[in-house]
Symmetry: C2
Subunit: 381 residues, 2 copies
């Protein structure tokens, strides 16, 4: 595992990002008419997700500590989608049974193919207006992303999740009668503690807010609200609330930088890069470590009781519920033949617990205050 890049937060980060080749070199789609052509926009995003995977794994291993102290390392698997490499592939890095982390997965995937229109629509939160080219089997698509879920062992240390992706399709413009190119970004970062620590919440949110604010003061409030709305166990709603959030939120965005043009124009402009939307994604992605690491480090050696551990396990049960019942990405993966199931379900905690009618913790405890914040999300930055 080569982890070479420290997290950086600078306005020109996107421009400065080195155009490293992506790990299993995504085979150019030679001779396949139904593929999305390569572009600088794709190469830049591939380099970013690889950079994030490297820098995040490296920082987490530093917290995990030296193997002589019981610290574990990430184990890497690379996999190809399909046999010839033309469908792309992925690079999964997983650390389990560690000193700090029960389970941590940081996965990159870069895939190409043809999606049924219904499946492609599921990849978008809004603007479900894609049309298959007459005579075609589906929509040629391209997807690149890094996705991570980190479950620390200590119940006082929060679980974290982040995900940064770009999606691109070729659909059909029924008015102009020509092929159309369309791409957008999605992602975000969110925190799932078992106990409310207001300093943690403020630090995590304000770090993400600072990254967003550089690109427009409207972004953080919108993406914060979207995060609270999305990561919601609606089936756990009680009278008087609209559900129980999975955690204390962060940011979530989708259909970001949505761009539509004729395929011809997209080819002509293929060396322009991802522009301002990509600049934002760079900053949002690079804000994950400074948002999470201080929170993690603060709690990783904190004392805890058996009761704290039980409460963490019950909260992990809720994490499982959200991911299996509601999460769009997980559902998409579970119902798509040929998905790499191990990489999808690495998001699940090592262990989880369910009790019938478990009593709420006392309202004035850190566990009770957490529950209140999940039922009625608060502002933290």
């Amino acid at each position: 595992l080569r982890a070479t890049q420290a997290p950086v937060l600078c306005a020109s980060a996107a421009a400065a990002a080195p155009a490293k080749p992506a790990f299993p070199p995504p085979a150019p789609p030679v001779g396949a008419p139904d593929t999305v052509p390569t572009s600088k926009r794709q190469r830049d995003m591939e380099a970013l997700v690889c950079e994030l995977q490297d820098s995040i794994c490296s920082a987490l291993e530093d917290v995990e500590g030296a193997p002589s102290r019981g610290g574990k390392r990430f184990q890497e698997d690379t996999w190809l989608r399909g046999s010839d490499g033309h469908g792309g592939g992925g690079r999964s890095r997983v650390l389990q049974g560690g000193r700090v982390f029960e389970k941590a997965g940081v996965n990159v995937s870069i895939v190409r193919g043809v999606l049924p229109a219904a499946a492609a629509r599921q990849m978008r939160a809004r603007g479900k207006d894609m049309t298959v080219r007459p005579g075609a089997d589906g929509l040629p698509f391209y997807a690149v992303g890094v996705s991570l879920v980190l479950h620390p062992r200590n119940p006082k240390a929060p679980t974290a999740h982040a995900n940064f992706r770009m999606f691109e399709v070729r659909d059909w413009d029924p008015v102009e009668g020509c092929e159309r190119a369309r791409w957008w970004y999605g992602g975000g970062s969110d925190l799932t503690p078992s106990f409310l620590d207001e300093d943690d919440a403020r630090h995590f949110h304000s770090t993400l807010k600072a990254a967003c604010d550089k690109h427009g003061s409207e972004l953080y409030p919108e993406f914060k609200r979207w995060c609270d709305e999305y990561f919601n166990n609606t089936h756990r709603a009680l009278p008087g609330d609209d559900g129980e959030r999975r955690g204390i939120g962060g940011i979530f965005y989708d259909d970001f930088g949505d761009t539509v043009m004729s395929a011809k124009e997209a080819e002509e402009r293929s060396e322009e890069g991802g522009g301002k939307a990509f600049d934002f994604v760079c900053d949002a992605g690079r804000a994950f470590l400074p948002a999470y690491i201080p929170v993690l480090v603060r709690h990783v050696d904190e004392p805890f009781t058996e009761e704290d551990k039980r409460w963490q396990q019950l909260r992990r049960g809720r994490y499982v519920e959200f991911n299996l019942v509601h999460d769009r990405g997980t559902k998409f993966g579970l119902h798509t033949p040929g998905s790499r199931i191990e990489s999808i379900l690495v998001s699940l905690p090592e262990t989880a617990r369910w009790e019938y009618q478990a009593e709420d913790p006392p309202k004035d405890s850190a566990a009770g205050r957490l529950l209140e914040a999940l039922r009625r999300p608060r502002e933290w930055a």
Copy 2:
């Protein structure tokens, strides 16, 4: 908890079943035009599900053992759907943290109301041809059932699930232009061991087969196949198989005894009872205890290792996956506002485990043979 009835298996069982009143007496739907009228068919099924709840809880408490030896008892909650009792309610019985059972739930519910047509269609596996009466908000429905999930502590003792229900709706006959009554039965029993014991599998299946055979030799083969098809974690398919079954099966049936007639005729014949379909359901329901108890008792005090426990926990993770991702009843409940979430999710085990790329157990071990039987279901009776 009054548990008075021993399981019986006799051809005239249905006729002989005492017409006990159901627990919270379901309020007659006075003055509400959009309800399904009461009938002998409903009262008989209500009495059956209460009888099964009593006999099953009583037998399980016998295995659990005396409180002086650490045996736990079932705790009962009754609940009403809506405030006036006209929507029906339920009686949940749950035993957790026991000597034998980590978690065991045996729940009865009897509910009335109006369902959106889409929701009503989800309650059926086939024959999705129901029509809402012009001007009505949805389909008046009635549902009665007993549902149970039993998770023993010892990894050598299998988890069991069973469910027996009747569903009834009033829809609209667009040809005749009149209200139409329709009812059917669904249910089954299935076994989920962590280790394959062929004697257990043969005993469980042949006991169910004997109950089915009394009503037609075609029933068991059809319902056994349906069970293998339904309880399938399709997202766990490997190259060369079509998924990983949740367990070694049993029987599963739906849309059974599907009956359609004009509402007027149904009212005239409301004292006829459920007929042959109900007779089958009585025998299938009463076969659960003789099918499961001997299997349970054989393993409940068997020695096991830490590694056996870990394997059980991984299998429980799969149980959670099936219930949250695939199970029609669970999904229906989670997405229906006003459901009693605690009663739905009592099916989840107390604890579960997920590891990234856990290795398969050796093929020649009881765990390995189980996995093989889940990937390629076998005939047991």
